[in-house]
């Protein structure tokens, strides 16, 4: 495996004698026999990246042989011969240069599974990102005529002649990109990009209502794949809070809400209410105060909750935005109470009509949970409507100053609870004119200026830059350890065997758990090692757990991954 550890060549001398190639390590005095490939690799090792070495040598040698050669040399390095592990910064990028980002995508595959809004937002954010970065994607045409043309703002790099696709696309991503922007929600091929050393990855995850059931798994998995140079971007603060609550490390999780586009307000709320009433054929929208409920509920449980809410508040006209209860793909016809109108965007026409309803709203109400689309919430508020956030994480920072929070509970299976009476009281209070309400209205109006697509694109670029900074600290310093051998140990007193670790060099048995953590840390992130130890900790019957629990010895960061020799 290409190591993530970097090495520098020591002072050495290559030579040939009797048709055999050798390299002498002048620091240790060792002489190592090498083959032709290793000779070639050594000649390039100091000045070229792994990628460049392989690309250059693959004309003359088999790929596997080249990789094996690099592996062997780096194994020697690990043993202290020829190469030295280094801890030094990689080159900084020029701040004036536009970043070059790779955007691998399988949009067509994902498109149908995502809501119209999500697809639209994704397209829009790429378009705006192109202002600040060069975007490129990879294509592997079988023949020249199949070459893919550029897709709007994204340039297509056609890789031809890759011999029957031996190397997967992450290989080509190693070459010449400042970063990789991953957009896939389904953990398809994108996961393999995480095995590329050095290139920061930003992975954006949508809070699409349709993906709710897999969202936590997706987020947790991505957190596990990340190294410190990588960033996970979620679209709303509550997604990060939820992730932290689930026990994941959120150090490298950033919140970047999608930008929104706002149409000019007509400023005539009465007219908007009339239109709404007419479109849904529900006069209540003219007669009663109008609440906008932006739903992120799991559809079945959500339908029940919406009905209960509507019945508890018969004095309100309730406009529900829900991506799953109506329109194509809704699970079963939902017949809401009389005072409810449900709407969903699924094409340009419905997209165009939505602002009419939003201008009719007196209050926006939303559950702060993963399926709730923040851009829709912001858009609903942007005409100057305050909000009530139903939340267990406190008022979401995105809307602070523009409303109030009501405590709510929900779990990962879609059950949502909030004290209905308290909610009704709060709504009634906030429908009354007051100074606070006026203030909030003013604040809500500013939302449109704050959450622009340009700002979102700039924030994303900023995240890449942070990734570079962290990458510089990302080198693992590899100490020369006394190699552990896992073996079993016979205990004459009891006549039983137990697992242990024997260290070469010290020639002693050692702590089994420490060695396990140390060896795992070689190829896995601290968070992964923690996962392994927590897994066994939970299985109370295994002998290792008692020791771990007693000493709580699993590593919580790199520093504590030490070999207790």
């Amino acid at each position: 495996m290409l190591s993530h550890t970097r090495y520098r060549l020591k002072q050495h001398h290559k030579f040939e004698q009797d048709d055999q190639k050798y390299v002498a390590d002048l620091e240790t005095g060792d002489i190592v026999e090498i083959n032709d490939i290793e000779w070639e690799i050594l000649s390039r090792y100091e000045s070229q990246t792994h990628h460049q070495i392989v690309e250059e040598l693959k004309k003359d040698y088999k790929l596997t042989a080249i990789f094996d050669g690099i592996e062997r040399l780096e194994r020697l390095g690990k043993q202290g011969s020829l190469l030295h592990p280094v801890v030094e910064a990689v080159e900084q990028i020029d701040p004036d240069r536009k970043l070059k980002l790779l955007v691998p995508f399988h949009f067509t595959k994902e498109k149908s599974a995502l809501g119209y809004v999500t697809n639209l937002n994704r397209y829009q954010s790429l378009t705006h990102l192109a202002e600040f970065a060069d975007l490129e994607t990879l294509a592997f045409p079988e023949a020249e005529k199949e070459e893919v043309q550029d897709l709007d703002e994204v340039r297509v790099r056609n890789i031809s002649g890759a011999k029957s696709g031996t190397l997967m696309s992450p290989w080509y991503a190693m070459d010449g990109y400042d970063g990789i922007l991953l957009l896939s929600q389904f953990l398809t091929d994108d996961l393999s990009y995480y095995r590329i050393p050095d290139v920061p990855i930003v992975h954006c995850i949508e809070g699409d209502q349709r993906l709710q059931h897999i969202l936590l798994r997706t987020l947790l998995t991505l957190c596990a794949f990340q190294s410190s140079k990588d960033t996970l971007v979620v679209k709303a603060s509550w997604m990060k809070a939820w992730l932290a609550e689930s026990g994941a490390s959120v150090e490298n999780v950033r919140v970047i809400p999608d930008g929104i586009d706002i149409v000019e307000s007509t400023g005539d709320k009465a007219l908007a209410k009339q239109h709404t009433a007419a479109i849904f054929e529900k006069p209540i929208f003219v007669e009663k105060p109008t609440i906008g409920l932006i739903s992120g509920f799991e559809p079945n449980r959500g339908a029940a909750w919406i009905s209960e809410f509507a019945r508890t508040n018969p004095h309100l006209a309730i406009f529900v935005y829900d991506a799953m209860l109506v329109g194509a793909g809704s699970p079963s016809p939902y017949h809401p109470p009389e005072n409810v109108a449900i709407f969903n965007i699924d094409d340009e026409e419905t997209r165009a009509i939505l602002p009419v309803f939003f201008q009719a709203l007196d209050l926006v109400c939303f559950p702060a949970m993963p399926g709730t689309p923040l851009p829709i919430v912001l858009e609903a508020m942007a005409f100057g409507t305050p909000c009530i956030a139903m939340t267990k994480y406190g008022m979401p920072p995105e809307v602070i100053g523009a409303g109030v929070a009501v405590e709510a509970e929900w779990d990962n299976f879609g059950n949502f609870r909030t004290p209905m009476v308290k909610l009704s009281e709060t709504i009634n209070k906030w429908l009354q004119p007051s100074d606070t309400r006026t203030q909030c209205q003013g604040f809500a109006k500013e939302i449109a200026q704050r959450y622009t697509r340009k700002n979102a694109a700039q924030a994303l670029i900023q995240v890449f830059e942070e990734g570079f900074q962290r990458r510089i600290n990302d080198f693992r310093t590899e100490r020369t350890l006394f190699a552990p051998i896992f073996c079993r140990r016979y205990e004459p007193d009891t006549g039983t065997l137990r697992s242990s670790v024997y260290r070469l060099g010290t020639n002693r048995y050692d702590q089994f758990e420490n060695a396990l953590a140390e060896v795992l840390a070689d190829a896995h992130t601290p968070a992964e090692v923690e996962s392994v130890f927590k897994h066994f900790q939970r299985k109370h019957s295994t002998p290792i757990c008692d020791t771990i629990r007693a000493g709580n010895r699993f590593p919580d960061n790199k520093k504590s991954v030490t070999g207790g020799t």
Partner: protein, 576 residues
Amino acid sequence: MIGFPKILHQLHLFEEEGVPYAADLDKARVVELSAVMLDILKLAETQTDDVIVETLSASYKEEDISGAFERFAELEREGLLFNRGEDLERSLATESKWRKLLVAIPGINVDSFFDIETLSAGTNMALAHMITHLTKYADLHFTGSRNRKITDGVYEVDIGIGDLVRLRSKIAETYYGILTLHQEHDRWLLPLYRHPEFPPILVQNHAPRGHGGQAINSMLRHYAAMRDWDGFTAPSDYVRDFYSEYVWDPSFFNTLRNGVDATLFKPMEKMVAKKEIAAEVGDDRIESVPTVGYLSRVQSEKGASVYVKLAELNPHLIFLIAGPNMGRYASRKLPDNLVYIGFHPRERLPLIYNAFDVYCFMSMSGEETFGLTVLEAMACGVPPIVPNFDGVPSVVGDAGLVANAENFDHDIATFVSYPCPVDFSEKINTLLNNADMWQVLSEKARQRAALFTWDKTARRIVRLFEELHQKKKLANPNRLLNVFTPTQPSEDNARRGEGTSPLQYMSLVLSMNAHYERCLMRDAAYPLSVEDGVALSILKNHTTREVEALLAALIPDETQARTTLKRVRGLIDGTA
């Protein structure tokens, strides 16, 4: 003065940043030189000390030259630059006809293997026979500190134990395998397994247990560290099976039975033998009374005190003892029917065995795995009586009697067994009172001993190396990539309220391997259990046997643990 001219190692001289160096290819070491040293080296193979000094005195100061000589003397002591001993290069090139094996048994004088008379311990004796017969199938190069030919096909080479790792490429090129002896305190062998370059290493293991578990633990460490293509030999099926209880993969233990030299050890006229011994020790009773025999060191571990009891229990029989001396028993009052018949050179041993009517073997030590003397007695047609302990009954088969023994579950001091004197005594009398039975067993013993030849042992070694080479071809690297991740528990599990953490954990293996190849068909990542994932991760830089130890700790149910290892191994081999 150092004694030029000398044969130099294969050297490559070069300069780097103005400093001259010599790369000593025979020792895989670089030596930094000075200008004067470089000039001396150029003359070293042809000129004498005096000529060299004279030639160079024009260009260098006298003290520089003498300093260089001193440095060369130092380097020679370290085994660098100069050939030590004979120039083997040429003789090896012309004489070698077989595969070469490197025999690494540090701490043992090589010559002693070819001077059997000096050997007394069974293990060394067995090794000596084995080595002698092995030369029919392979050239043997013993690790040592000089180059010389010992006998046809047997050499000592200037490769020290400390040189092995550095010389691994050369060793791989030259030798078909490395043959060595398991000695529990040795520390040089374990690190060798970490280098895939070495040819197969076959480790002879003679002592399965004892020493407070140290022998087993050392063996378990080797088992864990060994590469897929290394292995142990055990002198009997018993020992092989004994180890199988401690490990999951018994294929690492191969029975390598000892042999017996049937041309030397054969039946002779019993009365003639008895007469000769009787005359030697001056005791007529040997001719007239049935004899029981003991041939070993006279020590507690070998059952000497039990043998004394047997003599006390059976005053109507004569109990003969052949051994180096009577040890601590010499100062005791011993029963009158116990007769010490002295220490005899190897060629006289057939005579000794033939003077016994029955041979008693009663070792109690944890190192007893075979019982070479039992086989020798059998070859002479003497029926043996052995304790039901460790490897010895499997050597005897149905050609002798097996007496009861109390076997201990673990060793105490050096004992792991106590042979039952009463049962031994009964069996001795049964055999001596039943002429037909004696006749049948005597014949069976002879026939069975004929099955154990040193030639077979030697051929088996060669065959084992061939098998290890096959295993080497089958070994696969593990290039799979996997991660560990928390995951959302299913609704069912959550309802059951398992544990306090809301998360479960799993591993994912990618369909892309470390060489950026797609090695699995479809999905980008396949979920695995954490147990599978740990096995997969650790198998990148550790052996399957190490993962065995790991899984044994992580998975309480052994069947499940074994299945896990088998499954992960299959995935690795299948995607290689």
